[in-house]
């Protein structure tokens, strides 16, 4: 059996560990042949590949990014005519045959899951693995990359405490997460944030300002506000900048903002993500071995399992009001905006 692996969409820590996990299990356990497809779905269109061996994937566990490269290219363009779509379908099917691939492992976020589902529907043998720092893929308790991103964001918040305290300031930090508040929620609690704003929960600047004024009255030296990039603002303004300006205007207290940016996506994965990525990779090889295609590997409690790509398609996993962390966060006095 010969399988291909491709990585698509934004990079995140743990992709290389997954490539290693799939390859090691496929080769050691099932004697499969493995090739890496370059540049995401683009490599499928261009037949751009490299062989992966037990030795060539050795050492990948700790490295960031993806050795296969990635792109945002999709196999099927949204605005394509039916004819164009059919042509693409033929091209891809032919290419897969030319490469001699019995199955393809697609590693990516929500966009990739959607594309994987489409490839599955045109008859290819697909197994996908969810991958995003945003943790917003439906059907899995967690995605790898998320724990690392939360760790980086938390370390940044830790650092801001000392500056905020020395200068008696409000510090606003904007973290990633796309339309989901998972990174803000977890890093906010782990970093001792006093106010945490998520895209999923409405916020009110008056309430926030009152909480901040109260804190200073009680003798707290500073206040940390953790803001997800995806929260609503006015006139399309950036989340951190908007909230910082509003707070300073309302409270008159010196307020500074930091946008954490791309450092959240890079570097060596955390131990948690290395293990999760490795396990998900090994499970993908298992699914292929038993010809259980059209599935996305997922985490359920402490077990690795799988879910139909059809179920995952076009859904987002978002934070809800009754989320345990939100409920317990409120108990210890964190303000979620209202």
């Amino acid at each position: 059996m010969k399988i291909g692996i491709l990585t698509s969409g934004g990079d995140c820590p743990g992709i290389n560990a997954t490539i290693r996990g799939v390859s090691k299990a496929a080769i050691n356990c099932y004697g499969m042949e493995v090739v890496g497809i370059h540049g995401g779905f683009q490599g499928l269109l261009d037949i751009d590949t490299e062989p992966l061996t037990s030795m060539s994937v050795s050492g990948l566990l700790t490295s960031g990014g993806t050795i296969l490269g990635t792109s945002r290219e999709k196999p099927f363009k949204k605005k394509a005519t039916d004819e164009e779509k059919n042509e693409r379908k033929r091209l891809i099917t032919d290419n897969v045959k030319k490469m001699g691939l019995d199955a393809i492992v697609c590693i990516g976020g929500n966009g990739t899951q959607k594309s994987a589902y489409k490839l599955s529907k045109i008859g290819l043998n697909i197994v996908s693995i969810p991958k995003t720092i945003d943790n917003d893929v439906w059907g899995t308790d967690q995605t790898f990359g998320f724990d690392t991103a939360v760790g980086i964001a938390t370390e940044a918040i830790d650092r801001l405490h000392s500056t905020a305290s020395s200068h008696r300031r409000v510090m606003v930090i904007e973290v990633m997460g796309h339309k989901a508040g998972w990174i803000a929620l977890h890093s906010g609690i782990a970093g001792g944030g006093d106010i945490i704003l998520l895209p999923e929960l409405d916020y009110d600047i008056n309430t926030i300002s009152r909480v901040i004024m109260d804190r200073f009255k009680k003798g707290h030296t500073h206040t940390i506000v953790v803001v997800a990039e995806g929260i609503k603002t006015m006139n399309g303004r950036k989340a951190g900048e908007f909230v910082a300006q509003q707070i300073e205007f309302e409270t008159g207290i010196e307020t500074r903002q930091t946008v954490l940016g791309y450092v959240q996506r890079g570097g060596s994965p955390s131990t948690y993500d290395r293990i999760l990525a490795t396990r998900m990779g090994a499970h993908a090889a298992d699914l292929i071995a038993r010809k259980d295609f059209g599935k996305m590997v997922c985490l359920r409690g402490d077990k690795i399992s799988s879910i139909s790509l059809e179920d995952v398609n076009d859904r987002l996993k978002l934070v809800t009001e009754d989320n345990d962390l939100v409920v317990q966060g409120r108990r210890i006095g964190i303000c979620f905006g209202k």
Copy 2:
């Protein structure tokens, strides 16, 4: 309502975050009064306490160790006569009355859970929280401290790779875990260990040596062996030293060993442990508020819940052959000793 908090047994990262979690939830949410009891159960015998306020627990989230101090003192000695036990019972009951405590939160490992159960049986209102880097407390998916310890051990293994590779050596690293192999299992997989030895699974030096010889023949520059401190050895010898010597003797390949030691227990908790500790702390306050005593707080999937202290008593959570990490670790080629 007035509650006391005590921390007992070996220290681990996240205890202070738990003290903060209990206190903040108890004060902010339920208007309780909170005191910290010094030096574990010893403080209960000596009435040695300090008041804990919302301000005094601020900043505890990130600090290692326990601000309350700890000891290995037990409320009831194993070899005490019935009379001595009755006297202790009276003393403790009187002291709790003198301190005006309506409930006590006991934070500790397996020994502490046992003591908490005994105090519960003599009629005190007890809620306990599991705490150990070893992750071996029955009834909870995970204990805080564990993720931090695994992270430290993994970073150490990462460092050993470069030395082992430059010198073409076998490197044996002994990690903590008491009678359980959890730290070795997780750090071994996260650190890219080639051989992982756990107390729960038998090992055979001949098998291990053959695996090592094979690896060098295939062109690998080095081999990393991760050993739990609790594995069986001969003549009471220390785990790492014993395994390293046996391997060098059998294979003739230069083999070095490192014992990681106390650094695994100390320092700032990881983001995962900060969140778990905070949530468990907040949940302990909830249990007290609804007078749900005789319980240990636990993690089940992604929910914080509780379990009867009676169920936890005298049980250990150990690694089993069918553990998902062991099964999947074998698939990617890790040798577990046989």
Copy 3:
């Protein structure tokens, strides 16, 4: 003898270690009495202090920020009339007498050195210690805070490599440094930056773009551009944003930018900074003991020494063309803008 310590200007890692160093040496070695003055020079105007003891400064070595608080308040306003200045002079001299201070240690950056010189000229016994992440204080080989900031910036650059490489991008990172390029120079070399732009050296977008195009032609997957916040741009635009846009426009290659921001100033000091801060603190106590006032503590080679505040006043230490790191950086192929 009784001495006061104040910390002024922007915070940086190592201030608390310095406070500890001054206090421990003053108390243990010379039997002095030590008080901390709150909020920088403001505390001198308000007589806002706290006693510092050997026990109270214990544990400060590793903590970020300043326990004394800081402000940008200056003892003498620039636009004050002569009369106002005389009044301030009287107020400060009186306050120092009221507090019974025989000498004052001023810990701060360039602004603080200037203020310290003025206080020295009105007859106060002043010893100052340089402190800034920017490393731009004249008269000392290095300031504490700098090594920590460079470490944080370098770790961020490390992380960007994996993202840049996976997406085949140009990544621009803007680091702090005020008008000096020290942080950009050191973190750029340590992080493997390909192009480093400093305020002290002119740059030319055409040259930079050609270097980037050449790199991609040679097969490099990505290019890292490290930019000091103080470089010249057009229309007052921010350094990173400006450079990223210019590069993308000129080369057509996808270019992203990250502004590292406040995380560079916070958190626990590096080992180098802890040692430098401790030594500088201890030396300040020595200077006071021998009544050697009007001096700034400095580092010269591997010795701690001192320099007259008059010499330091109104001068900046900037990167020059013949700086060893620039010269050697060019040898290994780094482009400094032209």
Copy 4:
């Protein structure tokens, strides 16, 4: 011109950065051809090499260990007869001719400097670069690897504080350094050690015990003792174990010890070491370009310079009583054993 690079002796962080620095400067700046020699001096005997190019050394800046491998093999055995030595001399000279090498860069510690000097004396064009975590090479202010090792040791001491404090213990930590106390001295001060024992300074257990008893009387919760592996003990016992046992015996206070071990040598170099390694590498290429052979690259103040291999030969750089850190450490109350 064609040059060879070899790495010999124990590995340390920054070797790969040096290989990259030499290669990039040699290729970019002087158009030299570069080969890497495998396994230290052994590769010179076996003609075991690989070509190094600008692309092949890219990415080496951050990696630990040495990509060339290392061994403890010396070019000339101590006990060799004159005839054997002459034969070796002929073999090496012939091999260098066969490989077409105009010069060789030897990267290593004291043993390597001695061998480099010998090769220089038999007429080879040698430039050497000092490399050791121990910082004990004569003629240079600092060696790369040292700052990284001190950082790792300091982080370990940081962790021990929380455990020691929670349990009210004495914690003894044994760090590396061979016969020199540099790592113990620097990590001891940076980690807030209370007692620091160096091979160069005598110590007295009675004095140490009295200091510890005094500290506990004054209210300190714990004491940290940092011990260099090279201190004198009785009956050949290991440093940390010996000191811990003596202290516990004398004071009756619970004392634990940790041996830090191999983790001090591995992993990614610190920013300081990356820069130092890069600069030293680039300077070695400069020396070769101007045919300035028989020299060891060194750091003097903030300049990279060189020193004759003859001057370095057979000398050790050790800590002395009048070392600034020792003098200032005593001022802040650190006990150095007497």
